[in-house]
């Protein structure tokens, strides 16, 4: 602590712990307290070019926010902060979240800011708002994200852009015309955003195809993850799980990508889309590499449209607050945001797969919190691709990898697959990049709250999200010690 201690605490004998924090003083940031997930809302996720064509990120984020305000009666409320972002963002949306707040029923005095961490944007927003609450800087906040590929920004070519900039700075008509004289016909073609990694030129799918092959993940295993995602999500919708987590938008009432009638046969009939030009190479990691006692058989392309997430439009938000704020607003507490850890990997030099950062983040997160991998009731591992889930799990089960890459004593561990993405994940719901974090956090918070209510014991969920740029973010949610009061336990009249 850089802050000088008070004379009292430095007096010998009055403070037995030399590293103890100074006692709380007026004007000093109060000690840490807990931040809680109080609820969430999202709009159903639409397939690209589907129901939300023409809807902007601001339209969608505002809709998600309005649904949240309606569910929790926050009209006119001045919240501490609204934080969120979008991955594919127009330059005019520099204040996307603040503009959304201004268009919502929240108090216009609610501050907001934009944040972006690729596909981890939504979860990072949750972590950021939670931390502000934990520090006592705010009492309540909303975290979320929005993304649309149907209304993605289209940029002009580099040549045209330079000419436009030059022309706008030109002082005379002649100079302006001269600036445009440099424009070539090819410059008039628009430049659309790509999902390719800027440093490698490989798309995320191609990157993951390499990781998938390196770990020798089979097509069948990936299809099974995809099938479970669809069936679990459909079952959750049918059971009404999302009735208080989703508000319809533009006539879409359920996730458009979901296929309740999906089957192993249907998934098996799809042609691979990623890794097609990957020269067949033998797995270099995990069981597939060691089983044969030498180089294993090369794996052909395995990643299809069915076991990869489609491009999707959507938005999600999570309501967070301190326990006091929740009580003042008669809001039940769903889950405590325990902790979070981000990680990044060196994929540029081929040292690690692009989407493997969560494999690094989770062990560090759990170690800090004294938890083991099996200490969770629910695992929410974002399904960027079916194989990202599988390579992450395979990595944790691999003794050698965990020693050399994660610095552990041995394999990190296995999870009970029946606790994995129990209500489906991105393969079925879709993955509007920045909106996925909010979807997962709200789902996981409700899961642990329900579980705690059901069993009377605290429940815990592990969330991990991989992101472009070799990023990963993991977080722990835990049900509160005293489960929400049920109607049977309290009567008023």
């Amino acid at each position: 602590m850089a802050t000088p201690k008070t004379p009292q605490t430095t007096t010998p004998g009055t403070d037995e712990r030399p590293d103890a924090l100074p006692v709380e003083q007026p004007g000093r940031t109060p000690a840490l307290r807990d931040a809680y997930v109080l609820g969430g809302n999202r709009i159903p996720f639409a397939r690209a070019g589907g129901k939300y064509t023409g809807a902007s990120n601001q339209d969608m984020f505002t809709a998600a926010l309005e649904g949240l305000v309606a569910r929790y009666g926050l009209q006119g409320e001045r919240l501490g902060e609204v934080v969120g972002g979008a991955v594919l963002k127009h330059s005019r949306d520099f204040n996307l979240i603040r503009e959304s707040v201004l268009g919502s029923s929240l108090s216009p005095q609610t501050p907001a800011f934009d944040l972006q961490q690729a596909c981890a944007t939504g979860l990072e927003a949750v972590v950021t708002v939670s931390n502000k609450i934990r520090l006592g800087q705010i009492e309540s906040g909303v975290a979320g994200g929005s993304d649309t590929v149907s209304d993605a920004p289209v940029a002009v070519s580099e040549g045209l852009r330079k000419a436009l900039l030059k022309a706008s700075h030109a002082k005379t008509l002649g100079a302006r015309l001269k600036a445009f004289a440099a424009v070539r016909p090819g410059d008039l073609a628009p430049s659309t955003p790509s999902t390719g990694e800027p440093r490698t030129g490989l798309s995320m799918g191609e990157h993951q195809a390499i990781t998938t092959a390196a770990w020798g993940i089979s097509r069948e295993a990936q299809d099974e993850v995809a099938l479970n995602s669809h069936l679990n999500l459909a079952a959750a919708w049918k059971a009404g799980f999302f009735d208080d987590l989703v508000t319809p938008f533009r006539g879409l009432t359920q996730d458009q990508n979901m296929r309740a009638d999906s089957s192993a046969e249907k998934l098996a009939s799809l042609k691979p889309v990623f890794g097609k030009h990957l020269t067949p190479s033998a797995p270099t990691h995990g069981a597939a590499a060691s089983e044969a006692g030498g180089p294993a058989l090369p794996t052909g392309p395995t990643m299809t449209a069915g076991n990869s997430t489609p491009l999707t439009d959507g938005a999600s938000v999570v309501l967070l607050g301190s326990r006091e704020w929740a009580a003042e607003h008669d809001l039940a507490v769903l889950a405590r945001v325990v902790d979070a850890e981000s990680a990044a990997v060196d994929f540029v030099h081929g040292h690690e797969g692009l989407l493997m950062a969560p494999a690094h983040a989770v062990p560090r997160l759990l170690a800090r919190n004294g938890l083991a991998l099996e200490d969770f009731d629910f695992y929410e591992i974002h399904e960027a691709f079916a194989s990202t889930v599988l390579t992450t799990l395979a990595a944790w089960e691999d003794d050698d990898y965990c020693r050399t890459e994660l610095g552990l004593d041995g394999a990190f561990g296995s999870i009970d697959r029946s606790r994995l993405n129990v209500h489906g994940s991105s393969l079925a719901a879709g993955h509007p990049f920045a909106a996925t974090g909010g979807r997962i956090v709200a789902t996981a918070a409700k899961l642990v709250a329900d579980k705690a209510r059901e069993t009377g014991r605290p429940a815990r969920a592990l969330i991990s999200i991989c992101a472009a740029g070799g990023l990963g973010l993991a977080a722990i949610l835990e049900s509160t010690a005293s489960p929400a009061v049920t109607p049977a336990q309290s009567t008023e009249s």
């Binding site: 440093r199 490698t200 020269t279 190479s281 540029v348 030099h349 081929g350």
Partner: protein, 325 residues
């Protein structure tokens, strides 16, 4: 090494020729084309033996430009950095120094007494050492010399050595090896096995790629515009066809510079950078790339190897290393 050893005595005191400024490449090309024609006329390139021992001497001269200012290169440097994917800052990357010194080496190659034709020389490999970073504003001395004429399985090789120093301190040394196909040394000397400089094709098993370059048809023209190397095989389909390529080909140094750039900051301020060129990259084209970190152990310093290949044919385009010093 034989050739080098043979020539060594003659090169103890090379003649130092100081030029006032770095020459422009355009003029040099015109001269190079003319002299190549002369060489082609007098010495038919295919399977011809170079004339007698007296004539296969490299010009015993070192070209030097004493004060090359870099204070005003920023715009050009930025364009280079953007093109090859280098971080845009005030450091002159090794590839840029190569571009800077290239005209001086070219001036040497177009001398009347240079024994090989400029056009038709194939750049087969390049090895660079950066001893310390060169920054915008440094005043540089650039030297170029030709060394080590030697036999090769498919012709004759020569090294063009460029050195950059500042304040009397050597900061950069680049060795560009060129092959003149079809020529043979008059001594009838055969290349040593280790001088074949080639990995047998069947031994190359493509690794998992870490990157992919989608190179457009304008790639050669874009690098040509910045490097000044407007060799028609890079910039014009007709020019490329004249040399037996179906389409234009990418500059080898462009691809090598991209690989260097992708290693990024991990290469440090001072580093060695090597490349060997194999199959040319036809444009437009896609190059699969793998950059691999080599572990740091007692035997080898840690660094990076890189390889670029054609994903469909599995043929290698280039390979090399980047090793922090």
């Amino acid at each position: 090494m034989t050739a080098a050893a043979q020539e060594a005595p003659e090169r103890r005191n090379p003649r130092l020729v100081t030029l006032p400024t770095l020459p422009g490449l355009g003029g040099l090309y015109a001269k190079g084309v003319a002299s190549s024609g002369r060489i082609a006329v007098t010495r038919s390139p295919v399977g011809r033996v170079l004339p007698g021992p007296r004539d296969v001497v490299l010009p015993d001269v070192v070209y030097r430009v004493a004060d090359v200012p870099t204070a005003d290169v920023t715009e050009h440097l930025t364009a280079y950095q953007r093109l090859v994917g280098e971080r845009v800052d005030d450091t002159l990357p090794a590839g840029y120094l190569h571009v800077l010194a290239f005209p001086l080496a070219t001036a040497l190659m177009v001398r009347g007494d240079f024994p090989l034709p400029l056009l038709g020389l194939v750049h087969v490999s390049n090895a660079v050492s950066v001893h310390r970073p060169v920054r915008v504003g440094d005043v540089l001395e650039v030297r170029a010399s030709a060394e080590n004429l030697r036999a090769h399985r498919r012709g004759v090789q020569v090294d063009l050595v460029t050195e950059v120093s500042t304040g009397g301190e050597l900061v950069y040394r680049g060795v560009s090896t060129y092959l003149a196909k079809g020529f043979r040394l008059p001594s009838g000397e055969e290349p040593l096995p280790e001088q074949t400089d080639e990995v047998p094709r069947e031994d190359f098993v493509p690794p998992f790629p870490t990157a992919r370059w989608a190179l457009g048809s304008g790639t050669g023209r874009a690098y040509g515009a910045i490097s000044g190397d407007r060799n028609p095989i890079h910039t014009s389909t007709l020019g490329a066809k004249a040399f037996g390529f179906p389409r234009t080909i990418a500059h080898g140094m462009y691809t090598a510079a991209r690989a260097l750039a992708e290693v990024g900051a991990a290469r440090g301020d001072a580093y060695d950078w090597t490349v060997e060129f194999e199959k040319p990259v036809l444009l437009p084209g896609t190059v699969q790339v793998a950059i691999t970190r080599t572990p740091d152990d007692a035997a080898h310093p840690g660094g990076f190897t890189y390889v670029g290949w054609n994903g469909k044919s599995g043929k290698r385009h280039l390979g090399g290393t980047v090793t922090p010093r």
